[in-house]
Amino acid sequence: MARMGIDQDLPEYLRTWQGKIENHARSLGLDFFPQVFEVLTFDEMNEVAAYGGFPTRFPHWRWGMEYERLKKSGEWGLSRIYEMVINNNPAVAYLLEGNSLTDQKLVMAHVCGHNDFFKNNFAFKITDQDRRPPESAEDLVVSRKDRLPTRKWIDTFANHAARIRRHTERYGVSAVEEFIDVCLSLENLIDPPARMLEGRAAAPPVDEPEALEPARLKARGYMDSFINPDEFLDAQRKKAEAEAAKARRFPERPQRDVLKFLLDHAPLERWERDVLEVIREEAYYFWPQAQTKIMNEGWASFYHSRIMTGYALDANEIVDYADRNASVLATNGRSINPYKLGVELYRHIESRWDKGQFGKEWEDCDSLEDRKHWDLRLGLGKKKIFEVRALHTDVTFIDEFLTPEFCIEQKMFTYAWSNRNDRYEIDSLQFKSIKDKLLQQLTNFGNPFISVEDGNYENRGELFLRHDHHGVDLDVEKARDTLKNLYRVWRRPTALVTTVDGRATLMRFDGREHASKPMR
């Protein structure tokens, strides 16, 4: 951080505005970590963005690729990064040098929203570094206002970088880089729900069989101790136990944290294990942000709009602000703009709870006319949205609060590939299909569910994975390459069972070639 800290202290006028905006944000009910703003040049901004928001990241060409993309689209005027904030305590956020004061105020207001979200949304508890095993369900979701969790991720990421640099010096750039490529290829194979429960006493085994009763030879009662002596029974018991151990699966139940499984059981060098650990830690760090993109951006936009229009804007800034705000919330057909969808959905919820448009009576009301003018003047909107921002992720947010009225109002649709016309076409305007499509896109952040089924497949030490198929096939080409990377870590053949065109298929890589055959 030193590099940025030296000559770029936040200028006086921005510091003043930071104070004003933060105070106003607090008066609106936002509750956030202390914030540090830094001003960056265009190039530095792209650098930090390419590193995923961090000033330092382990060396890898992928950041260079992202940097090139960002820089180009900035230079061509396609997009520009205005704002970035890191989930860290204190939160660190960046302002782009040379932006107008209006823009800087907008960014600060927006950052307050994100920061409140980081602090209060339950999914982000996974990034608490002083996390303790949860004792009750409440522990999982409730943030206590008085307790500031430790989130020194900027330091952690810098340490990761140092660790990997050390390996690079020792083992060479290409060896380490090649292995990072492999790890990154597997980075989405993690299991966040399990991590949240980590450290809790494991549930008692459900159907552990009783202590094994050794097989006895038939004997009359008085002869028993002679025909079945203790030594004999012991031997029998041992034999039965050995058989049971053999039958026991490895892992005992399917494990979705494939990275963990590899860390525990793959034949890795020490430095390789270290690299894999780093990748896994960082994957978990980014997970809650991916899970709450719509909610998080929506929340920040909701509050930047409140703060700006209700307080921070000067009359002569309105036009610039409106221009900028419109471009942030613009939709472009093919992809959902998370900012737009999120902010509108919060507004929708607020208005419903203000007017009492919920509960049994509302659900049962069939009269369109009544529904249109339904207003119980409850004023519960604000309380509701604060509760929503703490207790939901994108999936449950959409599942619970997307309504047919909302879809019509927001002109939502689903699209699909049309083979006939060789293009994407609007498929449906129906509420149900829109909701299904959205949920499908969001579940597991658009990643397939894959778990380790067997680490000793066919008793040959091969790694066997299963893909839980939910209607969409895998990209077979990529899956093949990924199996190959997995082989690099496992060093024995790897296999994946999935469904291709409706048929269960086993894909396998044996170290030299790929094979693919139908499963019985």
Binding site: A49, W61, G64, Y67, E68, E83, V328, N332, R334, S335
Partner: protein, 370 residues
């Protein structure tokens, strides 16, 4: 200031260049890079540079969107996010081959390294410097013709709102003098060409599309290499059958004539152009001639050889003749050239059987470093 990311970025560029190098033979023989050329860069499709993951296949998936339209309408817009946004690119990561821009200089360097081409020692150091205007900024004064509409409009709108003149019912915006914003420019100086390539091609009936494609690909690479050796480079295109004419690049590659072939007509025109426009003391001159080797008569061939010997060879760096194999041509011309001028090291001949032979032909032409 040096950034940490520069290292990662350099690594990435290295990987890209490595991929291009690996695939160079294919790019050359399949002509994949034609039509992808921008001003100083060429965009190259690089396969599989992205990291593979277990992920969903794309087309089956579809998705949800937002905007006007009814079922059956095409979906507008590209994938990707709007303005703003956090660093993480997230969901829309593209799965296709990556298009990477490589400067023509880098491409030439790769070509040079792969084919082990020597650098060219230029003759004459004449440099002409020209001024060029670039519109890069905004200022408050300027001619009406350079008025920046959007900026001016915004300034006027701001002023009207803040002074209370703005009427939402009748939103007429009238800029006054203070509102106006104009584009402003910088002058940059650039050296201009001191090398010229004269491309000549036989477009008589016996040259088919396949042959022309070969010429096209080959000239792209020759261009690329020579451009890297000279700051700026001019090209002249001549087509000929029984008579010759100078044409633009597009016509050069797409014209198909029928009828006979008089190669001397092209050489004559080439010589005229050099004399008129490119005096030998200021210019490095590279005539390239492509033909299927069929000439009208022995007399004409004789005339060609004397033209070359007396007029053209004394003023050029080298003269290159590429003979494309065609089912209709006799292929005699290259033999005649070799017989009469084979000993002159300014003359380079090459026979190009098919697309795979292009790479060797390039090497023959450029291998002498002239």
């Amino acid at each position: 200031m040096a950034l940490k990311i520069d290292q990662d970025h350099a690594r990435f560029r290295d990987i890209v260049k490595g991929k291009v190098r690996e695939n160079l033979k294919r790019y050359i023989s399949q002509g994949e890079l034609l039509g992808r050329q921008g001003k100083d860069t060429v965009s190259i499709p690089v396969p599989q540079i992205d990291i593979p993951r277990f992920r969903f296949g794309e087309r089956q998936q579809g998705g949800a969107g937002q905007g006007e339209g009814k079922p059956g309408d095409p979906v507008s817009g590209q994938e990707g996010e709007g303005e703003g946004g956090q660093g993480k690119a997230g969901q829309g990561e593209g799965a296709h081959t990556l298009e990477v821009d490589i400067t023509l200089d880098d491409l030439a360097q790769i070509l040079g390294e792969e084919l082990q081409l020597p650098r060219i020692e230029p003759r004459g150091q004449a440099r002409v410097v020209a001024d060029k205007d670039k519109y890069t900024g905004i200022r408050r004064t300027g001619p009406e013709s350079l008025r920046h509409f959007r900026r001016t409009y915004r300034e006027a709108l701001k002023r009207q709102i803040s002074s209370g003149v703005y009427n939402p019912e009748r939103p007429a915006i009238v800029p006054i003098r203070d509102d106006k914003r104009f584009r402003s420019w910088n002058v940059s100086t650039q050296p201009v060409a001191n090398a010229v390539i004269v491309y000549m091609m036989d477009v008589s009936g016996s040259m088919g599309d396949e042959q022309k494609e070969i010429v096209r690909i080959e000239s792209f690479w020759l261009d690329t290499w020579l451009r890297s050796q000279y700051r700026g480079l001019e090209s002249v295109y001549i087509i000929h059958d029984a008579s010759a004419k100078e044409v633009d690049r597009d016509t050069f590659f797409h014209t198909r004539e029928s009828g006979g072939t008089m190669i001397s007509s092209a050489y004559k025109l080439c010589h005229d152009i050099i004399q008129r426009r490119y005096p030998a003391e200021d210019w490095n001159i590279y005539p390239f001639h492509f033909s299927d080797g069929d000439n009208w008569s022995v007399d004409d061939t004789q005339q060609c050889i004397s033209l070359l010997r007396e007029k053209i060879l004394p003023v050029v760096n080298m003269f290159c003749y590429g003979q494309v194999e065609s089912p209709y041509g006799s292929g005699q011309f290259v033999k005649d050239l070799r017989e009469h001028l084979g000993k002159d090291d300014r003359v380079i001949t090459s026979e190009i059987r098919d697309k795979d032979a292009i790479i060797d032909s390039i090497k023959t032409f450029l291998g002498k470093g002239k």
